[in-house]
Amino acid sequence: MDYLIRFIQMHESFRQLEIEALAELHQLQFEWLFYSNESPFAIIRFINTEDPEGAAKSLISRSILSLAIHELWGIGTDYPTLHADVRHRTQHLWPQYLHSTFRFEIDAFHGSHSQASQRAIIESFSYTAFQGAIRMHNPDNQFTVFEDYTLNTTVPKRVYHGRRVAESGRKAVTKYSLKKRRYIATTSMDAELSLVTANLTLAAPGKLVYDPFMGTGSFPLACAHFGASVFGSDLDGRSIRGKPDGRNVHANFTQYGTSPLYLGGFVADLTNTPVRAAGRGGGRLLDAIICDPPYGVREGLKVLGSTRAALQEVVYLSDGTPAHLSQSYVPPKKPYSFVRMLDDVLAFAAGALVDGGRLCMWMPVAGATAEDEGEEEGGEEYAVPLHPALELVGECTQQFSKWSRRLLTYRRLQDSVIDHDRLSAYQTTRSTAQNGTAESKGTADDLNDFRRKYFQGFRDPTIPRKHERLPHTF
């Protein structure tokens, strides 16, 4: 049998990648028989499985961007072709449903029906001759007719019939809603996309996931929801320590009952990370890295260090003690190129992820809309950063009114399949870039296309506050 996935009609570019990630996680093979970003209905077929229904349940159980999976009973471009297909595909199955209780639903996308017309559709399936009682609650089986309309038309372009197999994991979106969470900030990633991102990392029981820009911990919290053990860090210690009244990252894990999975948070900078590389006795550490690096809109990005010559040496206070040992010492930070930061994330991931481990990283696309074209010289759109040890699994885009951001997903390749010429060329380029002084001389704007663009033009008061990634403040 084939299966119909009922997606939500949102975040379309994330949907296939989420399902493919869940298939990889559960070691299921399938092919897409039908998928379109314009439709909430997709058809898949499992390959090499003796238990497709079990596979369908596993596949959908954690999915955030779908509602349910159904056994496909028929497809048509209209009702006559649908009924013919239903007979063809399922006539041999009808006896086993003869006496079971059932419920019959109509799911019309971009369409609607009067009660009378709903009844007429349901009655058109009476040839299956099911005799069981109709139950609105907890029926043995739920049958659904799916209709797919082009917007503002009255006749569906495609119709499907299916028997529901399992519900998705979408309820977690409500459970993790920022409105109900104890500790959040204006920059906290919403529950839905945090959970989707966690799915793309293949977070699961027994795995270790790290967020190097964890803020209030939305991503680690989402990964822990799926059973992974997590830890994180942030350059801004206040975000981890939280509020004096006890609202902090740890309290969020306690709220959701996952504190045993929270290994801890610490204050650190990815460029000077304390997380050890492999080969120090232990192997590569991490199953996944999940992050939304700061975009530096407000203040420009910062990294530990200073461009002032005087601060390259130890600074002594008037009483002769070194300033950095004082209780109130605040380490200086210098401007930092956004592009270089992304490269640092990839280099770190290449060194820390186990084979097959994943990096999921958000970044702004910047200036990709048509109206921006011609206003500026090219180059507003960031190139997708690449690393020879990381294979790009997919890109998903979230569009806002004036800008967009994308989620990049990478997989750590086995050392044996890495192109070693590319790797050594990459390492040479990277060490040249690191030893150069460009980044220490530039202003925050020179270093960050996204920030410059943001202030030059596309600042729009209609952008909701929460979509504006506030930088770390110091």
Partner: protein, 131 residues
């Protein structure tokens, strides 16, 4: 911060990372806390091959905690014939997952830099002359 996490952390200074003495960090004047929780055998099993066992053993000595064996236990030693967690697993669970550093200092054996831990949160920020 759980003791397990300490096994992931080295001195943050680039110049130190190449030296053997920068890992593990040494605990100085630390206050420990123990919080009971259900064991996570699958996680412990997955972490075993990734841990630096020698560092783990050194840490227990430094902290005066029950000693670990010289060699890391094998996967088979974690689960009894009945499928139940073994004493080995329970001991590892207590050490790695239930025991946390609440406060104190983590010290690099190479540069002697002290990273403070407060309320369970360590800070690895470096002054600019060390970056």
């Amino acid at each position: 911060m759980k003791l397990l996490t300490l096994n992931f952390l080295t001195c943050a200074r680039k110049t130190c990372k190449a030296t053997a003495a920068s890992f593990p960090l040494h605990c100085r004047e630390v206050e420990l806390e123990q919080v009971e929780m259900d064991p996570n055998p699958l996680f412990i099993k997955n972490m075993l091959p990734r841990l630096d066992w020698k560092a783990m053993k050194g840490l227990t000595q430094e902290l005066g905690l029950p000693q670990l064996p010289n060699e890391a236990p094998s996967e088979e030693e974690l689960q009894g014939a009945d499928g139940e967690p073994t004493q080995v697993l329970n001991d590892l669970h207590t050490l790695l997952m239930e025991t946390s550093v609440v406060s104190g200092k983590l010290v690099c054996g190479n540069c002697e830099y002290e990273y403070p831990v407060k309320d369970g949160i360590a800070s690895f920020l470096l002054p600019s002359h060390m970056v």
